[in-house]
Amino acid sequence: MNALTLLASDPDKFTPPTPQELFELPPIGGIYWLTKPVILAVLTSIIVIVFCWSAFAKPKLVPRGIQNVGEIGYMFVRDQVARPFLGKDADRWMGLLLSMFFMIWVWNLMGVIPFIQFPVASHIAFPAVLAITVYVIKIFLGVKHQGGIGYFKNMMFPPGIPKGMYVLLAPLEFASNMILAPFTHMVRLFANMFAGHMLLAFFSMVGFWFLFEKLTPLGAAVGVLGVVMTIVFTALELLIQFLQAYLFAMLAAMYIGGALHAEH
């Protein structure tokens, strides 16, 4: 701790960004809960609502313009996310899955949009709310479709396992489905966005420091490397942002599908 503060106070040394600097943001306008990610989350909701409204409000038989873009997104979510897990129930869940996918994707994209540059999901509360929502839906549907006892019986006693092993395996199934599944659902999105933001901040700070703050012949090469790595990692981040939005929606569909129909 002492060495760290010493290092931070030395103006001639490069100091990598710390999580505190990057993620502990000051409240805006003195309102303690109003921080940058909150504003970005509201902005994201508006973007997604406006997008879906303009794409789907007055659908034409031959889609044009923004409706085309919207339908590509819809088809992707329906064919890759909803149908594999929900089958004939897919259409009923498209509203939830589509808005979830678009919202998380735009949340994540906020991480690379210039001057905004903060992935909303890197504050764990945001993915937590979505994961808990899916968790509640999952349990509600499971109890509704398989019965209060039947749901837990189907979950904890899957067929095809020797009777004696149930003593050891039933608690494992319970913990996996009831405790760790929502947790991994949430953490997977959060950790990816958190780590991605850290990496981008680190490399761009290397570039800024060695090229602008303290330009030296030797340091310039490091600075150029930092800029190149920032570009490379931004491209990678774009891929990960899409992938995590897809995965989150896919896992939501998987949990809902598992609650609607018992595993076989």
């Binding site: 594999p84 092993m165 395996l169 494992l172 996996s176 599944a181 991994t184 998987m254 599908g257």
Partner: protein
């Protein structure tokens, strides 16, 4: 509830089910049996049961995983 016809998309569903529930099975195996071992260690004053529990948890989760999806 399980008397449905198997459709082609069920295979995709099973594969993804298996792939994405693996981490939470292994973690819960470690948490439950490792935790049990840790509690027994505290109670009995031993120190070997925690690592044994962790290994047992991993073995059991892999076994469960294999029986559910591995055929």
């Amino acid at each position: 509830m399980s008397e449905q016809e198997r459709r082609p998309e069920d295979d995709g569903r099973d594969f993804a089910d298996a792939a994405w529930s693996a981490p939470s099975y292994v973690l819960s195996g470690i948490a439950i049996y490792g935790g049990l071992g840790w509690l027994l260690d505290r109670w009995l004053g031993t120190s070997a049961l925690f690592p044994i529990g962790v290994v047992l948890g991993v073995v059991l989760s892999v076994y469960l995983f294999y029986r559910k999806y591995g055929r």
